[in-house]
Symmetry: C2
């Protein structure tokens, strides 16, 4: 750092003897140059198919981009990947914050890779848009799994809407599958609407619970229990084992209240410990049984077809709304119209009609 006014200190460099740069300028330029090279969609596709993680990560970045050129390119890569995707099991994992999702995924993921599986861990976390810290941002809680060459961990995409975040994760699944990952874990927090979105992209839905901490039957959102294929009570270790067993029975009883599932599957309840690894292997055995049943009765395949259609229609409906509400003329008049409607100056229907006429006339 020459030519700078130096403070009086014994630690100062003598003029003419400057310390080397902390970061090599040559290396920076090299990396920048490398980043500027935008591989073609074909290159990305071949990379993904060859199991190249860099190509996979770059394609996911394209998917997550809001740039419309990137969108077109992302669609090319995804469509190329499609015939090579789908050979996987997609597992949704939900639970309120504090239930130990990350430590469970660490233990469960390592068990899966020990069985020779290739595991991708994704997330749907709409709150990441606000906090910019996604639920999977903190990879330190998965320190073993992150080092496992048969595991790929990708934090949640961010976006303005849950629909957008969920869509990006759904597209990322296809890329991971084409890259050879045969077990996809999708994490989401058990609050809000995100678990519905995740439920619409997975084969098996696992609800993670703990005893106490307000996370008993009472605090649970009814809709989530209705979706669960398995309820696993985590942190069943030490003094907690007996309480976890009791909670298991309580959930078993509660599950009886729900109507039978179309899959023919009867939801299971179990306990596990992400620390002692007790019960972790059993979770995979349960999922394996589920797959056996639903592949024989065809539910597995029918559901995937339905999900594909669902995502097409969802994307359309979302885009129609985005187009309308982002229309400059609509944005100008929307607030005043909302107020008028709230105060009964105009009927909600006449107001809607007026806005729609403005929109469609252009």
């Amino acid at each position: 750092m020459p030519n700078k006014k130096l403070p009086h200190s014994a630690l100062n460099e003598k003029p003419g003897i400057s310390s080397p740069e902390a970061i090599s300028a040559a290396a920076v330029e090299h990396i920048q140059q490398f980043r500027k090279i935008q591989p073609s969609s074909n290159e990305l596709f071949s990379g993904i198919l060859a199991g190249n993680i860099t190509a996979l990560s770059r394609a996911i970045t394209l998917v997550e981009s809001t740039n419309t050129n990137h969108l077109a390119k992302a669609n090319e890569v995804i469509n190329a990947c499609l015939p090579h995707a789908n050979k996987s099991v997609r597992i949704g994992i939900t639970g309120v914050p504090g239930v130990g999702k990350s430590t469970f995924i660490e233990a469960f993921g390592l068990h899966l890779t020990s069985l020779g599986k290739k595991v991708a861990v994704l997330a749907v976390d709409p709150s990441s848009t606000i906090s910019h810290g996604s639920i999977l941002g903190d990879k330190t809680r998965m320190e073993e799994l992150v080092k496992d060459k048969n595991a790929y961990i990708r934090p949640s995409a961010s976006g303005e809407t849950l629909g957008g975040v969920a869509r990006k994760t759904r597209e990322t699944i296809t890329l991971c599958e084409a890259c050879g990952f045969d077990t996809i874990l999708i994490e989401t927090v058990g609050v809000g609407q995100s678990e519905t979105a995740v439920h619409s992209m997975v084969d098996f839905f696992l609800l993670l619970k703990i005893t106490g901490a307000g996370d008993d039957l009472q605090g649970i959102k009814r809709g989530i229990m209705e979706m669960a294929d398995a309820i696993v009570i985590n942190k069943a270790d030490g003094d907690n084992i007996r309480k976890a067993q009791l909670a298991k029975l309580e959930f078993k009883r509660a599950l009886h209240l729900f109507p039978a599932k179309k899959s023919g599957w009867i939801p299971t309840t179990s306990t596990c410990s992400s620390i002692s690894h007790e019960g972790i292997a059993e979770v995979w055995e349960t999922i394996h049984k589920f797959l056996e049943l639903t592949k024989v009765n065809n539910y597995f395949f029918e559901k995937r077809k339905e999900q594909n259609q669902y995502w097409m229609l969802e994307t359309i409906n979302e885009q129609l709304k985005t187009n309308f509400y982002n229309n400059p003329e609509i944005q100008v008049s929307m607030n005043a119209t909302k107020k008028a409607v709230q105060n009964d100056e105009i009927s909600p229907f006449a107001a809607a009609q007026k806005l729609l006429e403005t929109y469609f006339k252009k």
Copy 2:
């Protein structure tokens, strides 16, 4: 009936002696002439404001029409009525078929008119589109109420979508209120999505139940119980009284599982008999208490504002979809695209993108 080949029977008319017409041709012409006169929106509005039931019914027919000219006229009438509406209590009544909704409404409605209230009974029944027999079509089950000059019963509108049916009922509420009806009962079946729509247009939501007949806790849709401000167990008469009392306790316990309501109201459980009229007066007392609470804590007014906004946005979103899916070009390509998506020939997102481009380019 002259000049017709007559069979050989002693009951035949002799030629030249014809019986009079069963329906007076003059009367028919008079009625047809009367029906052709389309009162102006102004005339309808003044009629409604004067409490004229014919004007009200005609305005509702306009609201229910699919003719776009009628739509414009209906909007004029509704907007004119708006400043005179809203002074009412809107009560949603739901329950599965067989729970005795009609007999309950007959008993409850008569109790309300005996208190000097003017009661309008409406319905949201999307199934009426298919069966052309609405849940309120059978007025014979309300034979006393239908004769009561302070009651107005209107069967469910029909339409292609639940959204359409619900919208029409929501608009009809405004007309009824301007016509002087101060208590609006809106009936719906407790299956499908219709109760969500009704919940979005009422102040108080009543869930009607019976014991046995599979309509116990087990068969209930969780979402509906979450919405209920009161659960009333009907048919608590004869041998059924004790069972109804037990069911009441069970529901009371089950209601405890739900989080507290924003209204500050604690949902009640009670029993009643539409035959002995036991417990019917208490239902109104409950609603009265609810109104006292929520008008003091302002929830009543805030909720109505929110509902108005909800209906505006719902109408817009519904219309955007209708416009898209009814677009001729989209209709041509939709089925093939759906198939391609189901069979993984194209990603759901690329497919959506393609259809949206087709739609927006025109």
